[in-house]
Amino acid sequence: MKIPQCFVDKNATIVFGKKSVEYQGNYPGIRITNDGWSIQVANQKQWKNPITMVMKGQKTPANLYIHLKTGISASFSIYYLVNPDWANVGLFVKLDAGAKLTLNNVFIGKYNSNFMVNRVITQADTSEVDLSSGIVVSGNTKIVDHYELNGEKSRLSAVLLAISGQKEIFSSIQEVFHNRPVSQSNVTNLLVSAGKSQMHVDVTETIGKGNFQSICHQNNRGIILEEKGSITVEPKLIIDEYDVDAGHGCAIGQINANELYYLLSRGIDETTAKRLIISGYLTPLYKRIDNPGFLKILSRTIELQMKGNDC
């Protein structure tokens, strides 16, 4: 996939190519490693937020290591322009004490074989992660997320939005470990199954003994657009401590009949009404994307995906 024009000539864009970093702006601390790239953010002044990163390289595995040093705040939008040769990509994020990361992570494109994403986020004391992920790709996808809340008062908010079309299989395994007291996690999964796609999400949140006053919540919602599609979700909480606040919920169904009727009663035809309702469902993802050009590409891709075409 070529780099969309909306990412070119931007000072705050870092493009990771086949074996090199193509556009970098003036950001120190980027290194090429044996299995990908490494970014270390130690100086707040040298990293002006927000920063867009575009992953288009064909390195396999294409891993990106990000390390935010103590007290650093960063806002990254990382777009993976998935190409047919990709098989595995990894994103490994480490936050030192007091670091804050807002991360938008979008995967868009098409590939030939099974595509796997591994993400690991490790957090120290009082660190905060606000993660928003969008996955709109053609082909079978597996995403494995591992979150380690290793610091007291560390906080994680993770929203995943995935749209699957045609006969694709999408699976996501998410594990959240509350390893220190007063840690917080809030996991939200929004799933749209178009065509005959099969989607499966397995979320496990664990609060171990002694990690009192931790809060963990998960919310899963799925919309199945056609009869032959399916979504299954396994929300799990493993709690070994009394003084915690935990909850999970899951709702899967077709498009809300009342919403549909309301839109139809205003003369909007059924196809357009469904598209509008789904776009409303996707708003949490759209709101996080600050690049209008990419937003157009994303919404067009989503529309194609919902119609059963390749991205």
Binding site: A257, N258, E259, Y261, Y262, L263, L264, S265, R266, G267, I268, D269, E270, T272, A273, L276, I277, S279, G280, Y281, L282, T283, P284
Partner: protein, 271 residues
């Protein structure tokens, strides 16, 4: 001038007749009020005319300008000129009012016509201003977080922009304070024209003081049992519906289901 004709409309749900032979003609320029006790089918009538999939028409015809609506889908009925301001407007999360109303207005354009976005924005702003709805309306999600009064005003805002030929306003006065009722009343009255036929469904005289009807119909048990002029409103307001039930020989509601024994309590016998 539009004309809506409802002919001998019979509708049932789960073997229970809920509309029992409704006949009504509404012409452009006319304002009709439908009143009646709770649960007599007033809102159901509006939903059936709009084509709600929950209801099945057993018998009868609905015609708009001579065109039969019975087989038309909900959106087709709307594009034919019907509008229903709902009693409980639905929230549509994530969809902005701007996108929703723009799509609805676009849907009503004739083929070959294109929405002029600048003109639409001005019309939306004007309508919101006339309904005193505040400047952020366009970017709020449809009915989400709206107060009861805002939801009702939002229905009228859509009506102003869609410009239907026949509009049902289903309990548009519920949830409105005195000022909001006056605003809605003024806006609806300003829309009155030979191109618009109005059907107001309400329990209260106060709405009909703002939007003065030409005809008043009273529905009881799925039937229009009396039609008259404004004098009926004051009588209902003062005396309720009992006089009418007596006049027409309508019995009070009778529970038709036989009582069922849920079993006997455990007993203890002394021997």
């Amino acid at each position: 001038m539009a004309i809506l004709e409802i002919k001998n409309l019979i509708v049932s749900v789960e073997d229970q007749v809920i509309l029992d032979g409704i006949n009504l003609v509404v012409r452009g320029g006319e304002t009709h009020a439908i009143m009646g006790p709770n649960g007599t089918g007033k809102s159901t009538l509006a939903q059936v005319i709009m084509g709600h999939p929950k209801y099945h028409i057993d018998c009868g015809e609905i015609l708009l300008d001579g065109i039969r609506l019975n087989e038309m889908s909900v959106d087709e009925r709307s594009r034919a000129g019907l509008f229903l301001a709902m009693q409980n407007p639905t929230e549509v999360p994530g969809v902005t009012n701007f996108d929703f109303v723009k799509t609805a207005v676009q849907a009503h354009l004739l083929s070959g016509q294109h929405l002029r976005i600048g003109k639409f924005i001005l019309a939306l702003e004007d309508a919101a201003k006339e309904l005193k709805m505040g400047s952020g309306l366009a970017h709020r999600y449809v009915n989400e977080g709206f107060s009861g009064g805002e939801k009702k005003r939002n229905e009228i805002l859509q009506m102003k922009l869609i410009k239907p030929s026949i509009a049902f306003l289903d309990e548009i006065d519920s949830g409105l304070d005195v000022d909001a009722l006056r605003i809605v009343g003024e806006n609806v009255t300003a829309m009155k024209s030979p191109d618009l036929g109005l059907i107001l469904i309400t329990h209260y005289q106060r709405l009909l003081d703002s939007i003065v009807p030409d005809f008043v119909h009273i529905m009881i048990r799925g039937k229009i049992v009396k039609t008259g002029g404004r004098e009926l409103i004051a009588k209902i307001d003062a005396e309720g519906y009992d006089w009418l039930k007596v006049e027409l020989g309508i019995d009070e509601f009778v529970e038709k289901k036989k009582p069922v024994s849920l079993g006997t309590c455990a007993t203890k016998s002394l021997k």
